[in-house]
Symmetry: C2
Subunit: 150 residues, 2 copies
């Protein structure tokens, strides 16, 4: 039995739109209006810190994060990728993989800082379309990876 915390939202709910899962983690589309393509990778068990995982668990998690980042670069063509494991509000291990663009609402600040501007509707549409293609490619890439690992 994996550890579950009955008060933890990431133990009780997926925390977004589920794209893929295996026995130990899940890949979620956050669907944040300003950040199409923002992905969260959530460890299934309730552990707070990266260093709470075993080496083998971290290696598996890292491999998935890398696959998300590479597929995001290929399909969203962001100006920068942001990676973060924070968990101050919800201390259940999860990573944010965030495609950043020079004209996004917070660039060059982190997405948690004060908003700098709104997307233009044209650019937001472009990024939304890329996010759709990215999601499809990501499901394929994760399924292919799972097959390779068998």
């Amino acid at each position: 039995m994996r550890h579950v915390d009955s008060a933890c939202p990431l133990c009780q709910h997926d925390g977004g739109r589920l794209l893929w899962r295996d026995a130990v983690l899940r890949v979620i589309a956050a669907d944040e209006a300003d950040y199409p393509g923002l992905i969260r990778v959530v460890w299934q068990a309730h552990v707070p810190e990266w260093s709470d995982l075993t080496g083998a668990q971290r290696a598996h998690f890292s491999g998935i994060l890398l696959r998300v980042e590479q597929t995001m670069r290929d399909h969203m063509q962001p100006d920068k990728i942001n990676l973060a494991s924070l968990g101050n509000v919800v201390p259940h291990l999860h990573w944010h993989v965030i495609p950043r663009f020079q004209d996004d609402p917070h660039f060059p600040q982190p997405i948690w800082a004060q908003k700098q501007r709104a997307w233009t509707s044209l650019r937001q549409q472009v990024v939304l379309e890329r996010a759709d293609a990215f999601e499809q490619a990501l499901r394929l890439a994760l399924n292919q990876g799972a097959t390779e690992m068998q």
Copy 2:
């Protein structure tokens, strides 16, 4: 020759107080007033993204980050660790390892969000003292790790 960008501050300067380095990365005390113990681990060569490294390079970098996190947990006793690779302003691969406390200036928000409060002077003193002990332990842990890897 590693790639160097003459316009990049992390190619030109350490980016903080140097605690340790090896041939490929360096460990920096950021000395940010509100965040004693905040560490940055900076890749020496000018590459923007985590996925620009080879698997062996990422494994080495990850091992150092893990050692920083574990030593930080032991000596700073934070309520949470935050890990982040952003690089929107300076697109030269570096990770932030941030000890967070429930009464720190931004908790539970990320440190880049709006400030919530000031430290009490008593608590800031406690955290500063822990940061001193942490730095000493971190140098030892990194040197020990380097010896083990030889």
